[in-house]
Symmetry: C2
Subunit: 195 residues, 2 copies
Amino acid sequence: MTSLQTVEKKPNQINGLDVQAAHDTIEAIKADKSLARFQFRARNTWIGGGTNRSTIRDFYGAGREDASRMTDFVFTNGEPPVLLGNNEGGNPVEFLLHALAGCVTTTFVLHAMARGISIKELSTQLEGDMDLQGLLGLDDSVSPGYEEIRIMLNVKADCSDEQLEDLLAYTEQHSPVCNTVCRPVPVKIKRVVAK
Amino acid sequence: MTSLQTVEKKPNQINGLDVQAAHDTIEAIKADKSLARFQFRARNTWIGGGTNRSTIRDFYGAGREDASRMTDFVFTNGEPPVLLGNNEGGNPVEFLLHALAGCVTTTFVLHAMARGISIKELSTQLEGDMDLQGLLGLDDSVSPGYEEIRIMLNVKADCSDEQLEDLLAYTEQHSPVCNTVCRPVPVKIKRVVAK
């Protein structure tokens, strides 16, 4: 239905997002679709056992290499004792839930803005089921990944329940992380020799 | 080929992982498959704009609620200025790359242990392409998620190149996050009223 193409030009913020900046982005992309092309990146180093660390900083988007970040973001994966670690950090499948929660939230808030809906509160609870026989190679009929992920979303906004349901369905279809999980996305791994 | 079923019982560590503990886990799961069932969770709260925060702590696995974590892990999603934020944190699609990097690394290290391969160094670089016309709802023929994710893996270990290639192929098939991304996994979102 309503897409971001319909964002009206207003000089203020809705949901903490700059409506004018959103409008300008949309117009720029409509004039030159190549500006919508982004490449995100991460570098990760194994520390030992189930512990490893990623640094995230640069990305390409809107026609150029981004230079807005003055320092790296650093995130540590670890494992709980039952998975042979010492809780050095959240584990990778938990970080996936964090990514999904964040993406659904931001997509919801963004498209609420496009519809002129003010969000008062928004929170989610996620749970995902997994059978470790897959990871461990104990049963080839068991998929190693999540079987299903459920998101319980609580939102208060200045609109009707019907509008919220419609926005939620739109969010589900347009969230990049949700789409990456729901759809088969190719992951290509190749071995290289570090410089 | 070689799965974790073949882990030999040794009283030491390989790759920083406790071989005895791994052996015990495998034996316990073979005796009672229900111990392989895990449920991971996250709770997320919207802060404003493209900023939101997850807390991660509890999970179910190995037949019970885990109680090993004394504090929450807290992770903040943000967006760069070109995506209407102020770099309050990595963004959700970047956290997905972190999750994928970590999972491939840990899966590789785990199954190297099962094969008696000692890893000396392991690092990855990831990049993923995305067309923001999908997220923005500007073109329904564009998928909002990643089109493809590439992982460049650099590893040094005490084995042949052939063994590393075989281990890498096994890892690709058994990593939970890699599998979740490569395969269509259902994400069910429903609206609830917070207590």
